[in-house]
Symmetry: C2
Subunit: 241 residues, 2 copies
Amino acid sequence: MTYCVGLLLNEGMVLLSDTRTNAGLDNISTYRKMFTFEEPGERVICIMTAGSLSVTQTTIARLREAMEDPDADGETSIMKAPTILKVAEIVGNMLAEVRTEIGEKMSAQKQSASATMIVAGQRKGGAMRLFLIYPEGNFIEATEDTPFLQIGEHKYGKPILDRVVRPDTSILDAQKAVLLSMDSTLRSNLSVGMPLDMAVIARDACQVTMRRRIEAGDEQFRAMSEAWSRALRDGFTQISL
Amino acid sequence: MTYCVGLLLNEGMVLLSDTRTNAGLDNISTYRKMFTFEEPGERVICIMTAGSLSVTQTTIARLREAMEDPDADGETSIMKAPTILKVAEIVGNMLAEVRTEIGEKMSAQKQSASATMIVAGQRKGGAMRLFLIYPEGNFIEATEDTPFLQIGEHKYGKPILDRVVRPDTSILDAQKAVLLSMDSTLRSNLSVGMPLDMAVIARDACQVTMRRRIEAGDEQFRAMSEAWSRALRDGFTQISL
């Protein structure tokens, strides 16, 4: 399983992913699920992935190949696409293509492989955009009403986002919110695990303005998690029935 | 969908269920999912249900028929069963039988019908026991380490239970905990809905000691829900990253 979350705020975008993958409970590994592509000041794209590792790795690998191909144009390379909407289309089409290919191989074994992705990006002069790409390649976009998108194990971490995230939430509060959302998920689903990858893309910077890997045992994350537990217990105690 | 939760505490058992059923999003109804059976002072049994309404209704109806059958014995009537463990077995067997019957009818349409139940009970001189019955009829029991069981949409409401419910939690705090757990679920899943049914079975009372239906618009529930939102937001504000 996986948990990735992206926030689209007035001040910028905040992205967080875990790194745990598993093929059964007895085969657990650590893989990066957050991939950033930058031409600083011109274009920034961040992709987060959930689902079958063979599908997500192949999709990212082919997107990279297309980027490195000197003949690629705005129809195939996400670094040349004229808009971030077009980037979402390219990623969606590639994801659907890879999924179909791998799905055909797996259907013989009556198994299936699927994946979803979050694509965040901005190009110079354009708007910040945040998309959730479905396994079939179609997508939805974060809006003012719903300024966050989640993939993977989204349920445990959703209540905190529902309650505190608004478009005018500050980048600092947004980092707290996604980390607490991840904390609730880590507590309840063993197949989501540390370390974590966090990225901040400030509005109009067109580059990743903060990047942080949070390792298991990170002192700051542990302190925040404990403070949140205390706050919840204190709040609970004070409420009268 | 459905959300039902049962707590097994030193002071007694606390049970809460919603009442929403749906066949698609365009066909929503209200059905009681909590059923109590009592011989006050001698035996109390509370069953909560989740899953296919045709399976749960038929199962409860047949359990009632067996109870009313003058020839029924401790092998078939939950009101005559010698132990609450035996009650869980009778409920489990009936659920599995009904599920198989209905499943056969539905398999022709390539559909399936399934259900899970929570059974709470105590008989005079026996221990309080709380079981989760799986669709196949087998079951697990709440213990000191895990003093709560959930069926239906369990994820949104689990973090609060994980953090505050212990065997020595008071009945009053337990009622708060299950209502806040339900509140988080109601906010996130439209297919869980008011009114709610709550029951308390105090230890050794062998009867339902408190029963409450909480209607949509209940003032006390609304106030508690808002106080919890405030507590979460305040707690969030005070935590430093």
